[in-house]
């Protein structure tokens, strides 16, 4: 296992290098000059030249990339053009909001999708199966930006039970400690702030998680259907086990392996989905930060964010591989 992990970790280095090169080249090739976008409409040629020199944009691209690699090796992603602060600091201040949102989206998706998928798969062609399949199709088909607006209209507008946007109500939360509002509020024993944070996170997490919910539900259903026809399930039934026990103990556990793979893959989608959802809900996370950085052609910040996202994606895949061994004892590395 240790050597396997070491091999996988070593394999991430060329991946990260390649991604950094691609992002660096693509963002520099994209039309739009950060100096023109950031310095305002009335800016003149002299100020543009000065800003380019200040940001190192007057140097050849390979020199810029070389310098970038050297500083990244030292843990420094450079300074953001827009924020004039170290990229790492800017990302660090926004990442907890995205992680908190992603955790809630996963919770909503898995807690709803797995029972629904198991139920639908164990009773094929029943009304619950049809309902679950329709729901899954709805989840997969709905674009998150449309769903987000609909959720705002329905739950915040018509029913008026949830706030439209933001992460908290001004004046309720205590001082920030970890950057995770819910955790901070729990640590501060501020029940009102916990509730406030939960009401704020519900809509964006639902909008973000519903696509994953649809996919997970369908994968769980298919996997359950497949395992249900296995011989050992017939044996379990022949032994006289109750159907519930057969489904939850024998079928579900074996059917979960592909589900875990999909959860891992979908985590990456969740990160990219957060870009849209965060923007619609004014959620101050790294997704909305990426949009701001792209619109400003803030090269260091865009590159830094994509690198962090890539690293997160690689790490998630590693964790998922590790989880296989726990779920299925037959798998060992």
């Amino acid at each position: 296992m240790t050597s396997y992990l070491a091999r996988r970790l070593a394999g991430t280095i060329p991946v990260l290098l390649l991604i950094s090169l691609l992002v660096f080249l693509l963002i520099h090739a994209a039309p739009g000059d950060p100096t023109l976008l950031l310095l305002g409409e009335e800016t003149n040629a002299a100020d543009i030249a000065k800003a380019k020199a200040h940001w190192g944009l007057d140097q050849p691209i390979y020199v810029q990339y070389g310098k970038f690699l050297v500083s990244v090796a030292g843990g420094d992603f450079g300074k953001s053009f827009k924020y004039a602060e170290p990229v790492i600091g800017v990302i660090k201040s926004r990442l907890p909001a995205t992680i908190e949102l992603a955790i809630f989206a996963i919770l909503i998706a898995t807690l709803m999708a797995i029972p629904l998928g198991v139920w639908a798969g164990s009773k094929p062609n029943s009304w619950i199966d049809n309902l679950g399949t329709t729901f899954g199709l709805f989840g997969i088909s709905m674009p998150s930006f449309w769903l987000a607006i609909m959720l705002i209209l329905l739950l915040a507008g018509v029913l008026n039970i949830l706030p439209t946007s933001g992460r908290s109500t001004y004046g309720i939360a205590g001082p920030e400690q970890t950057g995770f509002y819910i955790l901070d509020s729990i640590m501060q024993r501020n029940g009102r702030a916990v509730w406030d944070a939960l009401t704020h996170i519900f809509l964006p997490a639902l909008a973000l998680g519903i696509n994953m919910l649809g996919i997970l539900m369908r994968v769980t259903r298919s996997s359950i259907l497949e395992v249900m026809n296995e011989d050992y399930i017939q044996t379990a039934r022949a032994k006289g086990l109750r159907e519930n026990k057969v489904v939850w103990r024998h079928v579900t556990r074996n059917a979960l392996i592909p589900v875990i793979t999909v959860v891992g893959l979908e985590l990456g989608t969740l990160l990219s989905g957060s870009i849209i959802v965060e923007t619609v809900f004014s959620w101050p996370g790294s997704g909305s930060l990426l949009i701001t950085a792209l619109n400003a052609r803030d090269y260091p910040l865009v590159t830094g964010l994509v690198m962090i996202y890539t690293a997160a994606f690689v790490a998630i895949n590693l964790i998922i591989d590790g989880l296989y061994a726990i779920v299925d004892p037959r798998i060992c590395y």
């Binding site: 739009g32 310095l39 009335e42 507008g157 706030p163 004014s282």
Partner: protein, 507 residues
């Protein structure tokens, strides 16, 4: 009086006292849903309308533009005079004090202008606030001399509502980053209470400030919440999550107006919308450009798509903007027959292919409006196509002068000088690439003419040439719709800046 009655009376009096005392101390808060992002503690680190307003209020506006009077008026800078064409003298009020009680002085103004706006490489405001300023010096404790590299008649339009004055002493003591983030001090009627980048900014009133004393009903706290989606702002207004919603789209007007306790207040923006044409084939011919202007039925677009929420422009600017001339000629009225004839005169009797480019979602209904323009252009003989590139791409190409035909807006046009120079002076930017020595001469003269009457004449002549030569067809100024809760009295400004001191809350 019986004992019970006395107790009852005393209790009632006590309750009344408590109530009135709590009413007196009650905090009033107004939450505003805004569209622009609030991303940095550095007040000089961004260059957008909303932030100029917010930071100006924290640090005390240097001077401000009064739209009712159509002229500039003093705030921190009480008065000014032009000593010679390149030297301006500003006299400061002695009543403006920073949060720590120290007085705002000429040294702070000089420091803010020279070290923060011009000298700091992290500043994004030099071009907008001090494009021609070469030097600022303190003449005495409350007098500042500003020297420009050339006569700059519209200097006030750069400084007013834009120059943010921060404390030199705090900067010297803590350094730039800590001064901005941890010790933000201004001489304005509000102070910064909280900033969560990307989410909200909170200002708190300074009751001891002279402007705050003059406006006792101004809210004690103002919360600016970023809400980019119109649906979000309108829903939040309906739910009383916010009391002011910036930029309600015309199609949502009815939803707000039909709700009890809410109202819509329209205001003519100072953003001019136009169709720009690079003088390259086929737009190198004046007749083709004029044909475009005569082909677009602006009144129809305003009355249908924009539901009346725009004011037609019969020249580069409209009423309330500096230098507006109601008698400006010629006027480019909707006349499709004339447009057809002009196109034939230009040598295109069988029509010509053109590609119109527009941003999407940057201006009110920009895509829908330009979609409506396509059949209008085709009806007079153009074979028009609509392209919708991403904003950063479009903007970069506009600035390089590589887009022949585009729909665009230019904001903050209180005084049109900067905008006219940017788009139409041949030596400024290649955005349109129009060359006309007579126009250049008039624009140079207006910029250097310090006599307002003569300057208006030069502006008027320049704008007449522009309307006739038509390197751009001037379309309209949108009416910006603000959704307001009836608990708040507020008259929004055409430049979209928001000043809490202008609000009055019903307690």
């Amino acid at each position: 009086m019986k004992r019970n009655q006395r107790i009852l009376l005393a209790s009632a009096a006590l309750a009344l006292m408590l109530c009135s005392s709590s009413a007196l101390n009650a905090q009033t808060r107004v939450t505003v849903g805004v569209t622009e992002t609030i991303e940095t503690y550095n007040p000089y680190g961004d260059s957008v309308s909303l932030l100029y307003g917010i930071w100006s209020e924290v640090t005390g506006p240097f001077c401000t533009y009064n739209y009712a009077k159509g002229d500039f008026e003093g705030r921190l800078a009480e008065r000014w005079k032009v000593e010679n064409p390149t030297t301006w003298i500003f006299s400061l009020s002695k009543n403006y004090k920073f949060n720590d009680g120290s007085t705002v002085t000429a040294d702070d103004v000089v420091h803010s202008l020279m070290n923060r706006v011009i000298g700091d490489p992290q500043s994004k405001q030099k071009a907008s606030v001090a494009p021609s300023v070469v030097k600022a010096e303190a003449v005495d404790r409350f007098t500042v001399k500003i020297i420009t590299d050339k006569p700059t008649a519209p200097l006030l339009s750069f400084l007013c509502d834009r120059l943010i004055v921060t404390s030199k002493a705090v900067f010297d003591k803590y350094g730039r980053d800590a001064a901005d983030k941890e010790h933000m001090m201004g001489g304005g009627p509000y102070r910064l209470k909280e900033l969560i980048p990307g989410q909200r900014l909170v200002l708190e009133k300074r009751p001891d400030h002279p402007d705050a004393k003059k406006h006792p009903r101004a809210p004690d706290e103002i919360v600016y919440r970023i809400m980019r989606e119109p649906e979000q702002r309108v829903t939040a207004l309906l739910n009383d999550e916010i009391q002011i919603a910036q930029f309600v789209p015309p199609h949502m007007r009815q939803r707000v107006q039909s709700t009890k306790n809410l109202r819509i207040t329209p205001v003519d923006s100072v953003e001019i919308m136009f169709l720009a044409m690079q003088p390259k084939p086929p737009f190198d011919k004046k007749e083709v450009r004029q044909a475009v202007c005569h082909a677009i039925n602006r009144d129809q677009i305003i009355s249908t798509l924009l539901q009346g929420e725009a004011s037609r422009l019969d020249g580069p600017i409209g009423p309330g903007q500096y230098g507006y001339d109601p008698n400006l000629k010629p006027k480019m009225n909707y006349d499709p027959e004339k447009a057809k004839k002009l196109l034939a005169q230009a040598g295109y009797p069988n029509g010509v292919d053109v590609e119109l480019q527009t941003p999407v979602g940057r201006y009110t209904l920009d895509k829908q409006i330009t979609e409506a323009m396509i059949p209008m252009l085709n009806a007079v003989g153009f074979r028009a196509k609509l392209l919708t590139p991403e904003w950063a791409t479009l903007w970069a190409n506009v600035q390089k002068g590589t887009i022949p035909f585009y729909y665009m807006g230019r904001g903050s046009v209180q005084d049109p000088s900067a905008a006219l120079h940017q788009y139409f002076h041949s030596k400024e930017t290649p955005r349109i690439g129009y060359v006309n020595p007579k126009l250049d001469e008039l624009l140079d003269k207006e910029q250097q003419e310090l006599d307002p009457k003569k300057r208006r004449q030069y502006l008027s002549q320049a704008m007449s040439i522009l309307t006739d030569e038509a390197p751009a067809c001037f379309m309209w100024r949108h009416k910006l719709l603000w959704g307001l809760n009836n608990r708040v009295d507020y008259k929004p400004l055409p430049d979209a800046r928001i000043y809490g001191i202008d609000m009055a809350v019903k307690r």
